[in-house]
């Protein structure tokens, strides 16, 4: 057998990620949806549906998702719902922008909090799309696009 460092793998599959992948938060349908979007990653078949309820107060009152995907994309969607509830849609969008920026290897000043757990994907370029899929879907839900979001 060959010896190799599994540090990077442990970075990618941190406990927090595996936990959210195994027990995703806010998984399922949402009553009284105001915005929704599909996210599709043709590469690996990740497929999710994101639901938002945006109130008259211009706040994301609730968020949920359904679908199937790899650990990274499910954990990312789960973390997303945890994060954006209570934000204004514009805030959520700029947070998404900062996160995507960061995961594709660029700098950002925004405080990412527990989303930093996703940073392991930077060493795995083919997995960045998984980590960002839910965020693209969220953007597209807020914009009320007609076509499914995709990460291509």
């Amino acid at each position: 057998m060959y010896k190799m460092s599994t540090d990077e793998l442990r970075e990618l599959y941190r406990e927090l990620i595996l936990d959210h992948a195994r027990s995703p938060r806010h998984f399922g349908k949402l009553p009284e949806v105001t915005h929704s979007a599909d996210g599709l990653n043709p590469l690996c078949g990740d497929k999710l549906k994101l639901y938002l309820r945006i109130g008259d107060d211009d706040r994301i009152q609730d968020a949920a998702f359904e679908g199937s995907g790899c650990a990274i994309s499910v954990a990312s969607a789960s973390l997303l719902t945890d994060t954006i509830i209570g934000m204004r849609p514009t805030e959520a969008q700029s947070f998404a922008g900062a996160l995507i920026h960061r995961l594709t290897g660029k700098q950002t000043n925004v405080e990412l909090g527990k989303l930093r757990a996703l940073e392991g994907v930077r060493e795995f370029p083919s997995r960045i799309k998984c980590a960002t899929l839910a965020w693209h879907a969220m953007n597209s839900a807020i914009r009320q696009d007609k076509v499914p979001a995709s990460t291509e």
Partner: protein, 416 residues
């Protein structure tokens, strides 16, 4: 007569030497020697193919067919010589039945558009199987959109075998065209072509076989298969990308209108009317992929130098070993367990998503494919979003499979 024959060198040892012919197989990936188990997606090239293409460009390149100078003559000989090699390799009766295309996908689109489109009417039926690759589904869906024809699909069972009883009824029910894989790329099932083609022909149904996953692994003879069309790709059989073949019976080709218009496929062009060239040129519009054809010819010569029988035997042995080793892993689910199979094993492990498996294996230098393998209907049938797939070629060996198994164990560890 009583002769003492020297024992042939063991198959394993013998094909081991081939491995050194493929430079990519000595790559280090993430610090480990590459284990390449993704040949069903695209195979690696031996030096003889890489060199044939490079040398063609150093010594023999010009445009084909149209030139009187030496390089043009060399290029034409190289290109047409490759056609002869291919025709002989697949047992085509006539070199003019071998059309160069850009790949299996284009070969199938050509048949759909030039052969089927003019003959189909609203309500006509095209029969496919549930095993097909998207390249043998979408061209027919486009054709249905264009003509009002509809698709009929032969179902599969839990092992990934066709339901032949249903097929027999379907084919007898008035079908205009049958299109099916020779070997399923997602499951490895080898389809019972002999039975299916003879049934189809009893009912006067022309048959296209998608041979993309067969030609690299077994002896294929289009004449004894008795199919009407046979499509395959260079890049899955150790040849270049951007080149493929459509074998078609000349009686069909003669009646079919051209698929594309352009240079080389004409005898005479006038604005008030154009005469098409004879076969196979009528179907080869524009400057062809000359170096691709040369590379494909070299790939076939390489395969012939080993022998298709030896390749098939070696891979059968390996596939058995792989299936057995995989099935010993706790939590594995093998997908595709038909009796007759070739070169491919799909699987799932615990509830680790295939994409995660792929990443973890890659990190250990093991290249497998994960996802839907361009066969979404197969995935849907098994109720999975995708699988992990290990696929074999002549250059793989038991060490590769041991490495696959040990890196799957690592994945189990990480996912705890």
């Amino acid at each position: 007569m009583n002769q003492v024959l020297s024992k042939p060198p063991s198959m394993q040892a013998d094909l081991a030497a081939c491995r050194r012919d493929f430079p990519a197989l000595s790559l280090q990936i993430n610090g480990s020697p590459l284990v390449f188990l993704d040949s069903a997606a695209s195979s690696q090239q031996p030096n003889s193919v890489i060199d044939a293409v490079a040398n063609y460009h150093r010594n023999s390149h010009a445009n084909v067919h149209r030139g009187v100078h030496t390089l043009s003559h060399r290029a034409t000989e190289a290109y047409e010589g490759a056609r002869d090699v291919i025709a002989a390799f697949i047992g085509a009766g006539n070199r003019s039945e071998v059309i160069f295309t850009s790949g299996t996908t284009e070969s199938i689109n050509l048949v759909a558009q030039s052969f089927c489109r003019p003959m189909l009417a609203r309500g006509d039926t095209i029969l496919l199987t549930h095993l097909e690759h998207h390249s043998n589904i979408v061209p027919w869906q486009l054709l249905c959109d264009q003509t009002g024809a509809k698709l009929l699909v032969t179902p599969i069972d839990e092992t990934g075998s066709l339901d032949l009883a249903i097929f027999d009824k379907q084919i007898a029910g008035g079908v205009s065209m049958l299109a099916m894989a020779h070997v399923s790329n997602a499951l490895g099932t080898v389809l019972p072509l002999e039975h299916m083609i003879s049934r189809a022909h009893e009912h006067g149904v022309p048959v296209l076989v998608d041979g993309a996953q067969a030609v690299p692994h077994m002896d294929v003879d289009v004449k004894s298969l008795d199919c009407d069309f046979y499509a395959f790709s260079g890049h899955k059989m150790f040849g270049p990308t951007g080149i493929g073949i459509l074998y078609a019976r000349s009686e069909h080709l003669e009646r079919m209108p051209p698929y594309k218009g352009g240079g080389d496929m004409i005898l005479e062009v006038r604005f008030d009317g154009t005469t098409y060239n004879e076969l196979p040129y009528k179907f080869e519009a524009g400057t062809p992929n000359i170096s691709g054809a040369v590379g494909l010819g070299a790939a076939i010569n390489y395969m012939k130098s080993i022998g298709m029988d030896r390749i098939a035997a070696h891979e059968a042995d390996l596939l058995t070993y792989m299936t057995q080793r995989l099935s010993e892993i706790p939590g594995i689910r093998l997908i595709g367990t038909a009796k007759t199979k070739a070169s491919v094993q799909s699987f799932l492990l615990d509830d680790i998503h295939p994409h995660d498996l792929g990443t973890i294996l890659d990190h250990q230098g093991v290249a497998i494919r994960t996802g839907h393998h361009c066969a979404m209907p197969v995935m849907e049938f098994f109720g999975v979003p995708g699988t992990a797939r290990a696929s074999l070629a002549l250059y793989n060996n038991r060490d590769d499979i041991d490495r696959l198994v040990s890196s799957l164990t690592k994945a189990k560890e990480i996912f705890g």
